[in-house]
């Protein structure tokens, strides 16, 4: 079985970190606010469960 691993080594080499993760999330929300396009946050689906 082939296993594609994106774990430790990949994370160390990745330009992504806690700060860039948060910036990406804040920009997604900001873009939604500025454009008026709803953001899929998963909360709507959860509220119907």
């Amino acid at each position: 079985m082939m296993v594609a691993t994106l774990t430790a080594e990949g994370a160390r080499r990745s330009p992504w970190n806690r700060s860039t993760n948060t910036a990406s999330m804040a920009d997604a929300f900001a873009d939604s606010l500025l454009s008026g396009t709803p953001l899929d946050t998963g909360l709507e689906a959860r509220s119907q469960t």
Binding site: A11, W16, R18, T22, M25, P38, G42, L43, Q48
Partner: protein
């Protein structure tokens, strides 16, 4: 020139200086323009450090600021719903730290307030907005792993400071609420489906000095025979160091298992 969102940050916890404020200041579409803490000195210090225009000694004052477009609720878990609802009352959309609510009753209160206000809200699970996880979700959706039936997650850390908010039962600490929610949320995201039922084992700490759960392990069953298996630990006792196999510097894995192949991603 692209208009930027003017963020008001509620709270001056360590994560504010370490991650959230630098992240927003470096983001493409936003800037932090106001910050609030119950301790005015903390807010003033943080504002000076990061070039934030306004510092408030009360959350209500920040929420009333007409020059704030959106709120980042960084407060401890038990204040997520009350202050998010208060932000709605001031007409502000909210990006709220995870988990939004502590229990089902709070979730219902939050949901009703959000629907009444009609304002956007986002729970701070970065997974949904991160290219790695978008790719992982696409791999699952495209059938590249075969039929995915099980997602297994381990997310743990060692923390023995009883004063840390993550170790305080009364304000929403513990392994399940602090990191277990990542396992559940990410599995829901990858499957694109909601769980139908869950069976959970939880080991409770000394509630006078520890978190409500030192570790939690669960199996959640969703539609189409999806299973989420998760283990979350906010280890407190010395003997629990063994739970902390991956951190620090060696991220905890989440592993969607398909009939043809698996993919393991760092959380």
């Amino acid at each position: 020139m692209t208009r930027k969102i003017r963020w008001g940050v509620l709270g001056c916890a360590g994560i504010a200086a370490k991650a959230v404020i630098p992240a927003i200041q470096s983001s493409r579409l936003g800037r932090v323009t106001a910050i609030a803490s119950r301790d005015p000195g903390k807010a003033t210090d943080m504002a000076a450090r990061f070039g934030i225009a306004s510092a408030y000694g009360s959350y209500e004052a920040l929420l009333a600021d007409p020059d704030v477009d959106a709120i980042y609720n960084l407060l401890p878990n038990h204040l997520h719903v009350p202050l998010t609802v208060m932000a709605f009352e001031h007409g502000k959309p909210v990006l709220c730290e995870k988990p939004i609510s502590l229990d089902a009753a709070q979730a219902m209160e939050f949901s009703a307030a959000q629907k009444a206000a009609g304002l956007p809200v986002c729970e701070a699970f970065m997974v949904r907005h991160h290219p790695q996880w978008k790719k992982a979700r696409a791999l699952v959706a495209e059938g590249r792993l075969g039929e995915v039936r099980t997602i297994q997650t381990i997310f743990s850390y060692y923390l023995d400071d009883p004063a840390n908010v993550r170790n305080q039962a009364g304000i929403g600490g513990g392994g399940m609420l602090d990191v277990g929610c990542y396992a559940v949320s990410t599995a829901r995201y990858l499957f694109g489906a909601e769980p139908l039922r869950a069976i959970v084992l939880m080991e409770r700490a000394d509630l006078r000095h520890g978190p409500p759960d030192e570790w939690t392990a669960g199996i959640s069953r969703g539609k189409a025979a999806h299973f989420y298996l998760f283990h979350a630990a906010c280890a407190h006792a010395e003997g629990d160091r063994a739970w902390n196999r991956w951190a620090p510097g060696n991220p905890d894995p989440l592993q969607p298992a398909g009939r043809q192949t698996d993919v393991a991603c760092a959380l």
